[in-house]
């Protein structure tokens, strides 16, 4: 998505820093807009990642192959 964002933990840490800076005020308008833009980017990244994963259950067998679990747990899904 964005090569400047490493992972969630990094994204959220950066987002926290940005919010803190913005809340402290005393920033030039341009700087605060720049930070805001970055903040929106980060929060969008987090939201997207939250939603983009889809439910999936896989089985890792002894040979190291990954297979979908299929109907094995379907009755538990209700």
């Amino acid at each position: 998505m964005d090569s400047t964002i490493k992972d969630f933990e990094a994204a959220i840490a950066e987002l926290e820093t940005i919010v803190k800076k913005l809340e402290e005020g005393d920033l030039a308008l341009e700087k605060s807009l720049e930070l805001y833009e970055r903040g929106v980017q980060l929060s969008r990244f987090c939201h997207t990642r939250l939603e983009e994963a889809e439910k999936r259950i896989e089985i890792l067998n002894e040979r190291g192959d990954l297979r979908p679990a299929g109907q094995m747990f379907s009755k538990d899904e209700k």
């Binding site: 940005i18 809340e23 005020g25 805001y36 994963a53 439910k55 890792l60 899904e77």
Partner: protein
């Protein structure tokens, strides 16, 4: 003969003390029945007797001199205050031990007596061993826990934080157990888009520990797995034993991703619990922990997003109001007019500056030209000519003047000479006058009284001089 027995400090054989007749008859009886055995035969007999009589014995004793050979067999001594017996436990039985035999440990063993013929030794071959009092499993647990703890495997500093949002959640457990269903139920309800990877492993019985350990090692190698749940549902201490295994503990400790242990709640803690980054009391609880992290994360992002927008709105509003306030400050009112004024002033200054620069240059140019002219007039060659002409003129004049002065001087000299001639006393002498000097010729003698009779005088004539002596003085002035 007796002295030899003395040598060993042993009492003399009782036989020696038997009465003579009895001794003789007994001896003759023995003579008749005498069968001579080899050491091997005897030992074989003993072995047969002992091994038959003690094919299964239980002994309670303390372990000492315990040593595990690299063949895998365990050699030790079993003792109580009164006696001791050598003991061995073969590799296959050592492997099934749940705890580690140590010196000083009080144990109950089951075994059989065997004789080692080459050395004539008997020993007990142990097949089972359990700690006396404490259960074997409990002892093994305590031993392993103590050892891994000393190694630092359970240190709090080793514990890693769980990821907020795992890309994939690994699960190592049995596919048949309740654990996997419990985990899927919780995640299905509260983390619907979770991506699970399950590594099936038997969680009880022989070989279960090795399967769990390998399962952990395998699953942490799957790309994208950020957290692993290892566990099973509740059971007896024996059922849970795989999670008290050293191999499992080490696989957990070596994992590059955080591990949540989730072993049913019958015992307080398993070794796996101590080694794990997070301990959940049940598999459901483990799933809840993962979900809670995710929900915390979502809420956190939500709050941060709101704060972000709020902060920027606030910041923009603050800046706006500042602009507004500044706009209305009196000092700001004539700002553009002042700016225009400054602009004009600037233009004017520029013009003046340029003008000044230009006029300064032309003024200097003029001065230069004047100076140049003057310089031309002072041209050295021209001046040299005129100097030379003047010098020639002056020279002529000087020479004329000198000549003139010379002639005048000559005339004056002749005049003076003529006049001097007329005044010369010598001219008077020419007319017959003479001058009388004293004899030193320094003083002219004007009166006769100035000399006495006999004095020498000199008389200068017109031509020549006389040296005379006064004969007589005659005062005319008297």
């Amino acid at each position: 003969m007796s002295s030899q027995f003395d040598l060993f400090g042993t009492p003399e054989p009782e036989l020696e003390q038997e009465p003579e007749p009895a001794r003789a008859s007994a001896a003759s009886a023995r003579e008749r029945q005498r069968t001579v055995l080899s050491v091997s035969d005897l030992t074989a007999n003993i072995r047969g007797i002992l091994e038959n009589a003690y094919s299964e014995v239980w002994i309670e004793a303390e372990i000492s001199n315990c040593r595990l050979w690299n063949t895998g067999h365990l050699y030790f001594t079993l003792k109580d205050p009164g006696a001791q017996i050598k003991a061995v436990m073969f590799k296959s039985d050592v492997r099934s031990l749940k705890f580690k035999p140590e010196d000083g440990l009080h144990v109950v063993v089951r075994g059989r007596i065997s004789v080692y013929e080459p050395k004539g030794e008997y020993q007990i071959v142990c097949e089972r061993m359990e700690p006396h009092g404490l259960g074997a499993l409990q002892l093994a647990f305590d031993q392993l826990k103590r050892r891994l703890q000393a190694e630092g495997l359970f240190d709090a500093t080793r514990k890693r934080a769980l990821p907020s949002l795992p890309r994939k959640i690994g699960i190592v457990t049995s596919l048949d157990g309740a654990a996997i269903r419990d985990i899927i139920k919780v995640l299905g309800r509260r983390y619907p888009n979770a991506h699970l990877v399950i590594r099936p492993a038997r969680v009880q019985g022989e070989g279960a520990a090795a399967e769990v350990a390998r399962g952990i090692r395998d699953i942490v190698a799957v790309a994208g797995i950020d957290v692993v749940i290892v566990g099973r549902g509740g059971g007896s201490i024996e059922d849970l034993w795989a999670f008290n295994d050293e191999g499992v503990a080490r696989a957990i400790a070596a994992s590059p991703v955080p591990i949540i242990s989730a072993v049913g709640h019958e015992v307080d803690f398993t070794i796996a619990d101590f080694a794990a980054d997070v301990r959940a009391p049940t598999p459901s609880a483990a799933a809840e922990i993962v979900v809670a992290r995710k929900e915390d994360f979502c809420n956190h992002i939500e709050r941060l997003s709101q704060r972000l927008t709020g902060a920027v709105r606030g910041s923009v509003a603050r800046l706006e109001s500042r602009v507004h306030v500044l706009n209305r400050r009196p000092g700001f009112a004539g700002w553009s007019a002042r700016l225009a004024l400054r602009g004009r002033h600037c233009a004017e200054t520029t013009y003046a500056l340029r003008h000044a620069a230009r006029s300064s240059v032309s003024r200097r140019l003029r001065a230069f030209q004047a100076l140049r002219l003057q310089l031309d007039q002072y041209d050295l060659r021209r001046r040299l000519g005129s100097v030379r002409a003047r010098l020639v003129g002056v020279d002529g004049t000087l020479r004329a003047a000198a000549m003139h002065r010379h002639h005048a001087a000559e005339a004056r000299l002749q005049n003076c000479a003529a006049r001097l001639d007329s005044l010369s006393p010598l001219a008077v002498l020419g007319r017959g006058y003479a001058v009388v000097w004293d004899d030193t010729r320094t003083r002219v003698v004007r009166r006769a009284s100035e000399v006495a009779r006999g004095d020498g005088v000199r008389i200068t004539l017109s031509e020549g001089e006389l040296t005379c002596q006064v004969v007589k003085t005659d005062g005319l002035d008297n």
